[in-house]
């Protein structure tokens, strides 16, 4: 069966057993199922769900859903790099499940998942990790991480949209939060999208074979960008952990003083460069990124550059050739040209 082969392939890439892997319709659906399914199965242990303050919206939305259904949610804060302190990531009495991302989606910082898992296990609490940022980008091994549940999204590693990965380790108490059938081990009802799942497994296997070469190449691009930005633009704060071992290297985030993120995106877009922003002016709700707020980072003038397998040194050069002029132009437009932006 194609589906079985895809499951075996994905399981092998993640250090999991095939029967621990289910395919969902998205990374968001996988994160919801992981969190709410564990909370449902451990209802007698309590109704508290613990999450970090910098989780992806899919995890925070699942936690909010749990809260709306009468449960409790506890958020754990982060330091200036965006990282939780393992000693502070504790489970209060009545905790059903905790969730801590493997790496942050906005600033790339790696979280101390293994240490948190060990501490939680000592208290009998299972841990879910959202590995959407890391799967296919750095080696991810379910057992080495120590998490009981792991989720990821195929399109984040070059697979098709519409496929999420849900890993539930053997022995983890989990009950579907909704109706089920016999498919996907009773974890995801409905007929699976077999062609997309096969493509997902192929993409993940291909990424795995490229990691040794792509990892250092993208790390060099990120280092180049982080190194040259402050020399070209005054008033730039680099975000995340500056130590190469502390972050995934394909994400580089920074904030520029006295400019609007939206104006930066427009200026770069005119030059054919696509990046992202966590600034409030770029969000539909006009609120700043919860990740930047939790870190205490400047939320205006924020940009996030993500490198992929198509990214080249020429792309970094093009960005650095255009960005200083865009920042100058936006500062002038906002009446900030004469302010000293030196940090």
């Amino acid at each position: 069966m194609l589906l079985d082969a895809a499951r075996e392939s994905v399981a092998s890439d993640l250090g999991a057993r095939p029967d621990e892997i289910s395919f969902t319709s998205s990374g968001t659906a996988a994160a919801s199922a992981a969190l709410l399914g564990t909370a449902a199965a451990r209802r007698r242990a309590g109704d508290v769900v613990v999450v970090s303050a910098v989780e992806h919206s899919s995890v925070l939305h699942a936690a909010a859903h749990h809260e709306q259904a009468g449960g409790r949610v506890v958020q754990v804060g982060v330091d200036a790099f965006g990282r939780v302190d393992p000693a502070a990531f504790t489970a209060p009495p009545g905790t059903a499940v905790a969730s801590l991302q493997h790496a942050n989606h906005e600033v790339g910082v790696l979280q101390p998942v293994a240490e948190v898992a060990e501490r939680l296990h000592a208290a009998g609490v299972p841990l879910h990790t959202d590995a959407a940022v890391t799967v296919g980008h750095i080696p991810v091994d379910l057992r080495a991480l120590g998490a009981d549940l792991l989720t990821a999204s195929a399109h984040k590693f070059g697979g098709p949209a519409g496929v999420g990965l849900l890993a539930v380790r053997t022995g983890t108490r989990w009950r579907s939060p909704g109706p089920t059938d016999e498919r996907e081990g009773g974890r995801v009802p409905g007929f699976p999208d077999v062609p997309s799942i096969v493509a997902t497994a192929a993409a993940l296997a291909a990424r795995g074979s490229e990691l040794d070469a792509e990892g250092p190449r993208l790390a060099a691009l990120g280092a180049e960008l982080r190194g040259r930005l402050p020399t070209l633009i005054d008033g730039v704060e680099l975000l995340g952990d500056p130590s190469p071992a502390g972050s995934v290297r394909h994400i580089c985030a920074f904030s520029c003083l006295y400019v609007a993120g939206e104006a930066l995106l427009d200026g770069l877009d005119r030059a054919g460069i696509a990046v992202s922003s966590g600034s409030s002016c770029t969000s539909d709700a006009l609120t700043p990124s919860h990740v930047l707020v939790a870190m205490g980072a400047l939320t205006h003038g924020n940009l996030r550059v993500s490198f992929g397998r198509d990214s080249t040194r020429a792309d970094v050069d093009a960005l650095l050739a255009v960005l200083p002029g865009v920042v100058r132009e936006v500062r002038a437009r906002f009446g900030a040209a004469d302010l000293d932006p030196t940090l």
């Binding site: 003083l257 609007a260 409030s280 700043p288 205490g296 400047l298 939320t299 205006h300 906002f334 900030a336």
Partner: protein, 89 residues
């Protein structure tokens, strides 16, 4: 004071400099703050009113980055927030 002229700038009865940046979107309240604070003597304070949702985190981040002192912040009864910042040269 700024190109669109919506900021009002005044000196309160106790000599405190006031900047009303309500209705102005980020980063304009921060630019208003940065522009006004350089007119103060070291140790003097400025009171900023702003209602952009990013003002709270950005005033705090700006004070950290520019090594100025955020003395206090509180919600305004009419909406938005008041920030008191002390100039540190």
């Amino acid at each position: 004071m700024t190109p669109d002229g919506t900021t009002t700038d005044a000196t309160g009865p106790d000599g405190t400099t006031m900047v009303d940046a309500r209705g102005r979107r980020c980063p304009l309240p921060i630019i208003d703050l940065a522009r006004a604070i350089v007119t103060l003597a070291d140790g003097d304070t400025i009171t900023l009113w702003a209602d952009d949702p990013a003002a709270g985190p950005d005033v705090a981040a700006w004070c950290r980055l520019r090594r100025q002192e955020l003395v206090s912040s509180r919600p305004l009864p009419t909406g938005g927030e008041e920030f008191v910042v002390r100039r540190r040269s």
